[in-house]
């Protein structure tokens, strides 16, 4: 067999080239078919999305591969704001409207106060993110606010923050701290945690709409503080104490066994009576020197292990009654503590639970 290496080489090269061309052509066809399929699906998906969201933007009708990266989330970022007029307002931010201050910052509100003639400066109060507080005034009412970055305090961010207990703790404490400092020199109507306003105009409008109610409230709350009282009992300790005071003296065996059971029952009844008597007397004593009272549902009270809640009450106490208040509490504690009663008193707090508007709202809500 005769052959030259050069001829063999050329033949091989030709064959390889033919094969390569064919393979490339086939691959091209497969790729194109696949692309067409995906492209169609993406375009169809896009049209469906648009009909759902009602978006009229033309930018989204781009080539399939690009459009595939589109995420509809940013479009609905702040659209869940409660107030309908706000939604339209918020949507405006994407346009070129150069509204000052609304684009970057919104206002975190702490509470409502009465504006006095000799107004002290509030800029030394550091609010959320250590931003200085100021007062937005409308007539003789003012709202204590501090600016906060919009991106950290929109609905989505707040929802994320609520899952972070460290964030909730530091910010809730700051909220409370500001209110406590504010109420040192005047009465304040506290606002709930994370009350946000988009601009000062909205605050002024809200203050104007509720002027009468707010002024009545501030008048009523002037020189009053909210105090929280919870009374718990350590049943085991009280039972032991009662056993000490009323020792069982009957027999231990035979008929004595039933006699003892009966005795245990008597002691239990006595314990219930003592708990009721002490609870009732403290509640009434404090009630007599308080301006208003709000009794809490016992089911909602967190009870320490091994204890039972007797009552939990919020009292609105005039500042001049504070001395008498403290005296009554100390006297009760002295008598009840050895029996196993545990008194938990906290305050003075801003009047979270004694704003008339809040109460109306609660009644309306059932």
């Amino acid at each position: 067999m005769k052959w030259s290496p050069r001829e063999w080489e050329t033949n091989v090269e030709r064959l390889v080239n033919q094969c390569a061309d064919k393979v490339i052509l086939e691959l091209e066809e497969v790729i194109m078919a696949h692309l067409r399929e995906v492209g169609e699906a993406v375009i169809q998906g896009l049209f469906q999305d648009q009909s759902c969201l009602g978006l009229s933007t033309t930018e989204q009708r781009v080539a399939g591969s690009e459009a595939k990266q589109e995420d509809p989330a940013p479009q609905v970022l702040i659209s869940e704001v409660h107030n309908a007029c706000q939604v339209s307002k918020v949507c405006d931010y994407s346009s070129v409207d150069p509204t000052p201050f609304t684009d970057e910052e919104i206002l975190y509100a702490f509470g409502i106060i009465k504006i006095k003639a000799n107004q002290e400066d509030n800029s030394d109060l550091l609010g959320m993110e250590d931003r200085p507080c100021h007062i937005v005034e409308n007539g003789n009412l003012g709202m204590l606010v501090c600016p906060v970055p919009r991106k950290e305090y929109n609905e989505e961010s707040l929802h994320r923050h609520m899952e972070d207990m460290a964030w909730v703790e530091s910010h809730a404490r700051r909220h409370e701290e500001i209110l406590l400092k504010t109420m040192e020199g005047r009465s304040v109507i506290p606002l709930p945690f994370c009350t946000i306003f988009t601009d000062e105009e909205n605050i002024k409008r809200q203050l104007a709409q509720n002027t009468e109610g707010l002024q009545d409230d501030l008048q009523r709350l002037e020189n009053h503080n909210e105090m929280h009282v919870k009374l718990f009992v350590d049943r085991k300790r009280l039972l032991e104490k009662l056993h000490e005071e009323l020792p069982y003296s009957g027999g231990q065996s035979g008929g004595g066994y039933f006699q003892k059971l009966q005795w245990e029952k008597t002691i239990e009844e006595e314990m219930e009576r003592v708990m009721n008597d002490y609870g009732e007397s403290l509640y009434q004593n404090l009630n007599n020197i308080s301006a208003e009272v709000s009794l809490l549902n016992k089911a909602g009270v967190v009870v320490p292990e091994g204890q039972q809640v007797i009552f939990a009450v919020h009292y609105l106490v005039a500042k001049e009654s504070r001395e008498e208040w403290d005296k009554k509490l100390a006297k009760f504690d002295e008598a009840a503590d050895p029996l196993g009663f545990i008194l938990d008193v906290s305050g003075p707090w801003p009047p979270y639970h004694f704003s008339r508007l809040i109460n109306e709202e609660e009644t309306m809500g059932g």
Binding site: V168, E176, N202, Q206, F232, D344, S346
Partner: protein
Amino acid sequence: MGDIANSKQVTLLAVVEKLLDKGVVISGDLILSCGNVDLVYLNLKVVLTSVQTMLEGNTSKKDVNL
């Protein structure tokens, strides 16, 4: 007075209870939704439960020492 005031977590609960009161004097442009409020309570409950477990652990240790 009660030991309850000494527990930081319970105090946090007290703080949050006051600040998350459902009544609204003036409604902000944005307020915490009921869902968010529930979320906070849920998370607090988890924290409190773990603290409770921790405290129980401490109590049993104390008993052993006594």
